[in-house]
């Protein structure tokens, strides 16, 4: 086997339909989750599919940040996120020849990574059993229908730590949708493709996730307001 270059030897700045540059966290980068790949990117992908280890290293360099960040946001633990990233790219290496281009490569890769994350959550005994169930969280875990009085609105300000805590406490299915759309910047059609659900389902679940976050933040505000 030819030695693959280290990621630092691979060109990390070439885009591959939403690869490295889309992960910089800027507002403009957020909307580029599935840009069409350039001819050079397509060539790297084709070479990796043919078993070229250097090309696979390039793919890793292009997508590592987004996949690692997704894992980290989902599990909230660095060591676990590293393990999941490793597993996702190993799975990619084993399955890359089966990619047929029916969706953007980054969407396909994210779907693979999401499955790896969901497997891990299932191993940890969370209530998340499958993607279907991820999309249909327990009704008891859904947002309440609290018809908020104006004095209990968030008033345009949210404490960062409180929001991070609220996201971490979301049921895994809601957290997945919220992270993919509102943090990662994927569009609903891409999420629907990743999670095997309808676009409408993705939209409505995201809305419920946001409502649940609002419930949690308002509850925290109420607690802090108590004498």
């Amino acid at each position: 086997m030819a030695d693959a270059p280290t990621p630092t030897q691979a060109p990390p700045r070439t885009r591959a339909d939403g690869g490295e540059e889309a992960a910089q966290g800027t507002p403009t980068a957020r909307s580029t989750a599935a840009q069409p790949p350039s001819a050079a990117d397509a060539e790297v992908l084709a070479r990796a599919q043919a078993g070229d280890h250097q090309a696979f290293a390039q793919l890793y360099a292009l997508h590592k940040r987004r996949i690692y960040s997704l894992c980290l946001r989902m599990v909230g633990n660095v060591a676990e996120a590293e393990d999941l990233t490793q597993e996702a790219f190993l799975q990619l290496h084993r399955k890359i020849a089966t990619f047929r281009g029916d969706s953007a490569f980054s969407t396909w890769l994210h779907r693979l990574a999401v499955n790896v994350v969901l497997m891990q959550l299932r191993k940890k005994g969370l209530s998340l059993i499958s993607l279907d169930e991820a999309m249909e969280p327990n009704p008891e875990e859904g947002p309440s229908r609290s018809f908020g009085a104006p004095d209990l609105t968030l008033a345009g300000t949210i404490d960062r730590l409180a929001l991070e805590r609220a996201i971490a406490d979301l049921p895994a299915g809601y957290r997945l949708i919220f992270v993919l759309h509102d943090v990662e910047g994927f569009e609903h059609n891409e999420i629907a493709s990743m999670l095997d659900c309808s676009i409408g389902n993705s939209k409505s679940q995201l809305h419920k996730a946001r409502l649940k976050l609002r419930d949690a933040l308002r509850a925290q505000n109420r607690q802090e307001a108590r004498p």
Binding site: G25, P27, H93, S204, L217
Partner: protein, 85 residues
């Protein structure tokens, strides 16, 4: 519930929100919202949450060791593959 969306109660509107969003409706343009300060505040809260979320979780690179582990595992995979030479 009556048939006129502008005469919906807040409870009726909020019970339908997820379904409306799922069908692609712009909630901010819903007739109930146009006349309801409380539900406008709710939607404003959701916007605030989305904007705040964008400031969270800066994307980060995995440490180099992750690639080293992947490389090692790939080499192991290749050695155990049926046609490994």
């Amino acid at each position: 519930m009556n048939g006129d969306p502008s005469k919906m109660s807040c409870a009726e509107f909020q019970a339908q929100m997820a379904e409306l969003v799922g069908s692609g409706e712009d909630l901010s343009a819903h007739p109930h919202v146009e006349g309801c300060e409380r539900c406008r505040a709710l939607l404003a809260d959701l916007t605030t949450i989305v904007e705040a979320a964008r400031q969270l979780f800066p994307s980060v690179e995995p440490p180099d060791e992750v690639w080293e582990h992947i490389e090692s595992a790939i080499k192991r995979d290749d050695k155990t593959a049926p046609n490994a030479g």
